[in-house]
């Protein structure tokens, strides 16, 4: 179990990067005629993220999201829509798994530009009750890629 997080960790968690992502996401909105879409709900807190993606052949060409929730869940969704563009579904799922590992343990097992951007979630490990917030959008992405319309963080 990690040591209790203090005020410094709070500043780290709510970094400028995270808060900019949450408040000024580049790809918020519905993607009409999306080839895949799914909604993720956190039934405990009411957070909700809907992911829309377009697949063109083996690649995700577009990704957008709508939703409401805490800054962590919204920042995570915003980053997702930036990073999965140009990725294959398998690569996108792998990024989701990396986010989950980062949020749960802070573990970064490889280096890449994408992972460097995702490292904004590494401090979530000090806030166990917030892991679901960081991973909600990625659960929705997994569901969309699997052809499932709704999923839950529970």
């Amino acid at each position: 179990m990690s040591a209790p997080a203090g005020f410094d960790e709070l500043q780290d968690l709510y970094s400028k990067v995270l808060r900019d992502l949450a408040r000024n996401p580049a790809h918020r909105g519905r993607l009409e005629n999306a080839t895949a879409t799914a909604r993720g709900d956190n039934p405990m807190c009411g957070d909700r993220v809907e992911i829309f993606i377009n697949l063109d052949g083996p690649r995700i060409t577009e990704a957008m999201f709508t939703g409401r929730g805490c800054e962590i869940s919204q920042a995570s969704a915003a980053l997702l829509t930036e990073l999965v563009r140009g990725k294959s579904p398998a690569e996108a799922r792998a990024l989701g798994q990396a986010v989950a590992r980062l949020a749960r343990s802070g573990e970064r097992d490889e280096t890449s530009e994408d992972l460097a951007r995702l490292s904004v979630f590494s401090v979530v490990k000090n806030f166990p009750s917030r892991v679901k917030c960081a991973t909600l959008a990625w659960h929705a992405l997994d569901a969309a890629l699997a052809g499932v319309k709704e999923t839950s963080s529970e």
């Binding site: 209790p4 997080a5 203090g6 005020f7 709070l10 968690l13 709510y14 405990m44 807190c45 009411g46 957070d47 909700r48 409401r68 929730g69 805490c70 800054e71 962590i72 806030f127 009750s129 917030r130 917030c133």
Partner: protein
């Protein structure tokens, strides 16, 4: 000053009865403002449970030996304590359940399936905890022809009594099941009046006392409640035990819900007959130690006095109304005339979960989300939830002031 001299209520002394209140969270004194979810435990409850396990533990109602007789006596003494706490007519009207949710499910399955007729319905309000909603939805959907209706909540967060009367008017309501005190709005409902209206319309009435029983004296006979439910862990007792009060005649007419040991009269391979209430509804080994803990908790609040507890909490409510409404950007949910120590609110620009995380850094425990009352949040346009501060008998005005200060700080932090 937190000492209410008139009632002899000294919160500083009372806090010493709760070991956890002298602990620290992240190096800060614990400020526990989530008693609506589950209350902290006084030392006497822990000691009573430990003592029972050390000296008087055996299974109950089934051992022909001294230790089992002692444990059985303690278990039934707890039932008697609950009877007196609710002013029920007799101990047999008290059924122990695992929690309040278990009690609602018992009534839904037993009373609901056996005693409500096709074409009848259950009437709940928009402000119910999910435990007083989902079991009735399941009953409605069981194909028995039993409906479900909803009483509106006013913008002030009170039960709309005109709507209640209108929903009762056609005589089809078989059961009115509403909260005695909202776990979100703090609203105390006019239970005696609701019971009168229900009975005049030919309906039975059930009150969810999970919050109310903690904050105010409850007299089920004065209310003329047919059923009354509360849970042990919110009344400073242990988890794992709840209470269903039911009028004796009703309980006698209701079939069992769970089958198994202890609830039977005779059993053959082909057929069983069932014991009278309360045993009929208490299949299997009950929460023996938890009943002892609940008894100790009831003795504890009785020793302080429910009137003194209520007076202290009324003073806290007045203080909180002043302190919280001075926080810029804070909007309280509801504003009932008669309310208890539960305050749900939103803080402009700060999501409830982010706010809860922020307050936690200062040792403040609050609830964030929808507090198992999702329809009520929808009613007030708050699908994203709210933040809730809820008080116990150990809450101080200083803690409320500290919360107000930190809310202002949080707004600055997230600006």
């Amino acid at each position: 000053m937190d000492t209410n001299i008139a009632s002899g209520f000294d919160v500083t002394r009372i806090r010493q009865d709760f070991p956890i209140l002298s602990t620290q969270v992240r190096g800060k004194p614990l400020v526990f403002l989530d008693s609506g979810a589950s209350a902290q435990k006084p030392r006497v409850v822990m000691d009573a449970m430990t003592r029972a396990m050390e000296t008087a533990y055996a299974n109950v109602h089934r051992g022909a030996y001294h230790l089992s007789e002692v444990a059985t006596e303690a278990h039934e003494a707890a039932r008697g304590a609950v009877q007196r706490f609710l002013n029920a007519a007799e101990p047999e009207e008290i059924i122990f359940t695992p929690n309040a949710t278990g009690a609602f499910n018992l009534v839904a399955h037993s009373f609901g399936r056996a005693m409500l007729k096709p074409g009848q319905c259950v009437l709940v309000s928009e402000m119910e905890h999910h435990a007083n909603l989902v079991p009735w939805q399941m009953l409605r959907d069981a194909g028995l022809g039993i409906g479900l209706r909803f009483v509106r909540v006013t913008d002030a967060g009170e039960l709309d009594l005109e709507d209640l009367a209108a929903k009762l008017a056609d005589g089809k309501v078989g059961l009115v099941s509403v909260t005695h005190m909202s776990n979100v709005l703090g609203t105390v409902t006019p239970a005696a009046q609701i019971a009168r209206m229900a009975h005049e319309a030919g309906a039975r009435v059930l009150f969810d006392g999970s919050q109310a029983a903690v904050h105010r004296a409850v007299d089920v006979r004065a209310l003329d409640a047919d059923f009354y439910i509360f849970t042990g862990h919110k009344l400073y007792g242990p988890t794992g035990i709840g209470v269903l009060y039911g009028k004796r005649a009703l309980l006698d007419a209701m079939p069992p819900f769970f089958g198994g040991g202890d609830m039977i009269e005779t059993v053959t391979l082909e057929h069983s007959t069932f014991a009278a209430a309360p045993a009929r509804f208490e299949a299997g080994t009950p929460a023996i130690i938890e009943a002892v803990g609940l008894h100790a908790a009831i003795d504890y609040v009785n020793a302080i006095g429910m009137a003194a507890i209520e007076a202290h909490e009324r003073a806290l409510v007045d203080h909180a109304m002043r302190a919280l409404t001075q926080v810029e950007g804070l909007a309280l949910l509801g504003g009932a005339q008669d309310r208890g120590g539960v305050f749900a609110f939103t803080l402009e620009g700060v999501h409830p979960h982010d706010l809860s995380t922020y307050l936690d850094r200062s040792g403040i425990c609050v609830r964030a989300g929808r507090h198992c009352a999702e329809p009520l949040h929808t009613r007030f346009g708050l699908e994203g939830g709210s933040t809730r501060a809820s008080f116990g008998l150990y809450t101080t005005r200083g803690e409320i002031d500290f919360l107000a200060t930190k809310l202002t700080d949080a707004r600055r932090f997230f600006a």
